[in-house]
């Protein structure tokens, strides 16, 4: 089933996300004003997983939003055109503690785009970043506040986070660039 080399199984993914959930609540001293915002596409199901985990031990729910960053990319004229999808914010972000959730932190450019997209929606009190995998090779000064797993990679590799809603399985694998199936 797994393409390439497996670095996290579904079970390991669940544990990493549960730990991140605890860290988020601990570092924000509770749920007051907390909002999780998943970056489309795979950041959104991961944000929901974290929110579910928080709900299971805090007995309260955290709002989850979905952010589309395609209009904010810095490579719109140099790669095939991404499909723009709606941004959905159930509760505003003004004055909130926003945790951006993404699957992989690589160059940091997606996070840069997400920050710009977020600021156009309002002025959060604080913005933090949670990623399932930090694979290094950052090209701009951006780091994650919560990391599921640090994975050293070569530039010829692609880290693929697969989630059941989109890919039918839960796992994280590394594939060679030429064999990659999804983005």
């Amino acid at each position: 089933m797994a393409e390439g080399r497996l670095i996290l199984t579904g079970e390991e993914m669940r544990r990493a996300l549960t730990r991140i959930a605890h860290e988020i609540v601990e570092s924000n001293k509770g749920l007051e004003g907390l909002t999780l915002v998943g970056i489309r596409r795979r950041g959104v199901p991961l944000a929901r997983r974290i929110a579910d985990a928080i709900a299971s031990f805090e007995d309260a729910s955290v709002p989850v939003g979905a952010l589309d960053i395609n209009l904010y990319r810095d490579d719109l004229t140099s790669r095939p055109q991404p499909l723009v999808r709606p941004t959905e914010m159930p509760s505003g972000i003004e004055g909130k503690a926003v945790v951006l959730v993404d699957d992989v932190l690589f160059t940091g450019r997606t996070t840069r785009a997400a920050l710009n997209a977020l600021m156009d929606l309002g002025r959060p009190r604080i913005v933090q970043l949670a990623v399932l995998v930090d694979r290094g090779h950052h090209e701009i000064p951006i780091r994650a506040d919560y990391v599921g797993k640090n994975v050293p990679t070569s530039l010829d590799e692609i880290v693929e986070v697969r989630v059941s809603e989109i890919d039918g399985v839960e796992e994280v694998g590394i594939v060679e660039r030429t064999k990659a199936v999804s983005t």
Binding site: D68, N70, L71, Y72, R73, L76, T77, S78, R79, P80, Q81, P82, L83, V84, R85, P86, T87, E88, N116, A117, D120, L121, T183
Partner: protein, 335 residues
Amino acid sequence: MTHAQEQSAVVTQAEAPHRRRHVLDLDDFSRDEITALLDSAEAMRELLSRSIKKAPSLRGKVVLTLFLEPSTRTRVSFEQAGKMLSADVINISGSGSSAEKGESLLNTALTLQAMQADLIVIRSPHSGAPYFLARNLQRMGVVNAGDGRHAHPTQALLDLMTMRHHIGELEGKRVVIVGDVLHSRVARSDVFGLQALGASVVLCGPPTLIPLDLLRSGEGESLPDVSVEHDLDRAMEDADAVIALRIQQERQGAGMLPSMREYTRRWQVTEARYRRAKPGALLMHPGPMNEGVEIASSLAHGPGSQIEEQVTNGVAVRMALLYQLLTGGQEEAAE
């Protein structure tokens, strides 16, 4: 969640449409291409509803609008769409430009292309003018914002978006287009778009104002999903949506139209006729409206009316179109 959003959740990034440089009419659009564009327009609508209506994706792109015929909504709509995506939009009108000094359309366009504009949006009283420009411009893209009585593709796209937003996918839906179909570029483009999405179209109006060529494909075969019904009462039966067209007095030849009074009596969308359609059927009009002629005033401002929403969707659809035309990898060698 709207129908359209539900549907778009199923669509993946699988469809990578070929890179299009011009939009002249909808007759060369596939169902997939229209669907992808309408999905993207739904995302743009969300951007339109924000307090900061601006995204940076077309920064540094130059869009020209050249309107050689009067227009408020279409021109402003394109300008809004471009500006919300951060393009620089420059408006040129026929009067006050060198067209008044007798410069040809092509020379005007070549001059503008030499100024490094990326796209020209053109409205012309002459059918085919945008095609002529598209054939002769090497770098600049061309969008048809209405040419004579021929085509108005962005109006058709906003009509499709409005219908899909409210009644879901258009496959098998019954759409009535009533009025002066003959002189209507909107009706022509609507027919192509509705055909592509699998809706059935009923054309209704005085026999002198229904062009029979719309019932046949380019190859001369009759189109199964387009029909004519001169009696509006019958046409309205079970309709999912009704598009009332403007009576174009400025394009009217002698003898095409019975008296306005007779037109109003037989082809106005009235409360009684609206009740024959499906409950909650959509009422649409491309504007500008001759209120009390094509459509009863009470209906135009009533709950079924989508006329203002059409205007909002027009901006969203044009944003999606500009984004589609002006971003994405440059596979083609331009020069």
